[in-house]
């Protein structure tokens, strides 16, 4: 099975790609100007931040960056496309021929290019004959498209790959966590000879589901010796199936031409000036090598926070990895709640406590108390979850959550299994049922287990 992805990520700029309209939305058609409405006489101007983010990503994926880049007009007619051409890149995109080291496997990156998003459409009217209602707030939003070679070999691998890639992208261009839900992908998948493209799938989960569905469908077709058609399909999120996109009355020809309104950009020189910081996964690999951390520990650490990694490394350098890991572990528990107030003085205080512990000045439990005082929190489950401990139903739930947590600890591979197949949750559900002995309903247990599993390790 061969899977290739075309991934679209919206770049976190403050203004749009080719005009100064704000990117933070608002009521329909409030963040618009002549340029993103495609008005006659208007023209584009390129946002420096968008170009730089594109270059950072090209560098992240070790792409060849050409000396000069330019934009192209891709012409097609659709009600959400203001100019009836999209400003995108065709020849000489910001990056080509790169690669991404996916857990030791090289996945080739064919190209990285920048383009504008069209507007968005609200459908109105009877199904099958809907009128389009267009909101141009999204028109001109900056997108990066990353195209991989078909180097992925299963839907689960594709999901993990994309998840890893997003971790790196997020860090490199400062994308918030929500980026993960809004990532859009076109997925190419071929079980046999013919390639099927599933267009415009939103989010990691849907992508894996769409690919799984398609893998099964193509396998069945091949087994019964029916031909798999080379076609474009879409994923129906409600019915969880892929469906063939109805053929147009004629085939579109985008007729790419160079965009004369923007000129050219000397990007190799620009790219050389840009220094990408060490990415989370690069750092995890380094932590493994440098401090002998387990792969899962290192990943968990970088996924929690790069700031926390800084603390870990500071302690590890002076006090050794063992103490550093112990203390970091205790700080990472309530990290979600303290991260915004975690300043330099708090860090120094933590470091001091760790140092005393290292000199045997304080015991293990004294350290724990010291840390919870510094962090201004009792490191307990209820505090972590932000619950009112006086409420008896909450107390019960804490009991349930503790049981779930225990089951998770006893099943180290559970998250990976769950990512491959959600039925892996049943194993935990069974164990929690047993350990809590009928205190909670099945529904409550299922909900708690699923909630915990979806949080990740």
């Amino acid at each position: 099975m061969r899977i290739g992805l075309e991934i679209h990520v919206q770049l976190p700029t403050r203004s749009k790609m080719f005009c100064s309209c704000p990117t933070d939305g608002g009521p329909p058609n409030s963040a618009v100007c002549p340029t993103c409405l495609g008005m006659p006489g208007s023209r584009p101007t390129l946002n420096r931040a968008a170009l730089e983010m594109g270059l950072r990503l090209a560098k992240l994926f070790d792409c060849q960056v050409p000396e000069r880049t330019w934009f192209a007009r891709k012409t097609y007619f659709y009600p959400d496309l203001a100019k009836h051409y999209q400003v995108t890149q065709h020849d000489n995109p910001v990056g080509e021929h790169g690669a991404f080291d996916f857990r030791g496997k090289e996945v080739r990156i064919r190209r990285v290019h920048l383009e504008e998003d069209p507007g968005s459409i609200r459908r109105a009217g009877r199904p099958g004959e809907e009128l389009s209602l267009v909101d141009y707030n999204r028109s001109g939003m900056p997108l990066v498209e990353i195209v991989t070679e078909p180097d992925l070999s299963s839907p689960a691998e594709a999901r993990q790959f994309l998840s890893d890639m997003l971790t790196e992208i997020r860090h490199t261009i400062g994308l918030s966590g929500e980026g993960e839900q809004t990532v859009r992908a076109d997925c190419n998948i071929s079980v046999g000879e013919e390639r099927v493209e599933v267009k415009n799938v939103t989010g990691l989960k849907n992508m894996e589901r769409a690919l799984k569905y398609e893998a099964v469908r193509q396998t069945k077709m091949l087994r019964s010796r029916r031909p798999v058609l080379r076609e474009t399909r879409r994923y129906d999120e409600e019915r969880k199936v892929t469906v063939a996109v109805r053929k147009k009355e004629f085939e579109e020809d985008y007729g790419y031409i160079g965009e004369p309104d923007l000129g050219v950009f000397h990007i190799r020189a620009m790219a050389e000036e840009l220094e990408n910081k060490e990415t989370p996964l690069e750092r995890a690999r380094r932590l493994e090598l440098q401090y002998g951390l387990a792969e899962s520990t290192a990943r968990q650490l970088v996924n929690t926070s790069m700031r926390l990694c800084d603390l870990f490394e500071r302690m590890a350098a002076d006090l050794g990895a063992k103490v550093a890991l112990n203390v970091t572990g205790q700080v990472s528990g309530p990290w979600f709640h303290v991260k915004d107030s975690f300043d330099q003085s708090m860090e120094d205080a933590v470091f001091e406590a760790a140092e005393e512990f290292w000199r045997d000045g304080i015991t293990d439990s004294e350290l724990t108390i010291r840390l919870s005082k510094i962090l201004g929190t009792h490191v307990t489950v209820e505090e972590t979850l932000g619950l009112d401990v006086e409420d008896s139903s909450v107390k019960d739930r804490i009991g349930l959550n503790e049981a779930v947590e225990k089951a998770v600890e006893e099943n180290p591979g559970i998250f990976e299994d769950y990512a491959k197949n959600e039925r892996a949750a049943n194993r935990l559900i069974g164990e929690v049922k047993k350990s809590t002995g009928g205190t909670f309903s099945s529904q409550e247990i299922v909900a708690a287990v699923k909630a915990r599993l979806s949080q990740g390790p």
Binding site: T13, R14, S15, S20, C21, P22, T23, P27, P28, N29, S30, A31, V32, C33, P34, L37, M39, T45, L46, N47, R48, A49, A50, L51, R68, W70, F77, P79, D80, I121, R122, R123, A124, G125, G128, E129, E130, L131, S132, L133, V134, D135, Y136, E249, F250, E252, D253, G255, G258, E259, P260, L262, G263, V264, F265, H266
Partner: protein, 90 residues
Amino acid sequence: MDSETVRRVALLARLELSEEEIESYSKDLSEILDHFSLLDELEGLEDYGFNPVEVADVLRDDEPGQDIPAEDLMKDMDTYQDYVRGPRLS
């Protein structure tokens, strides 16, 4: 350009042409394209650019702003609940 090609190009360009128009455009455009084949004489050219003068590295800072209030831009448009009304999708 034969009439089949004119038909195909007209579809791409979203133009509706009568049979008469197809005939006459086919004739004009064939003549014009024949003349364009003059360019085939020039060989070995490699350099090209998208502007006749150097336009390079003109970038805008990432500062949001709108010169014209959106309401002024939208006031003559056919809208429904602030959305621009468009044709059917299917």
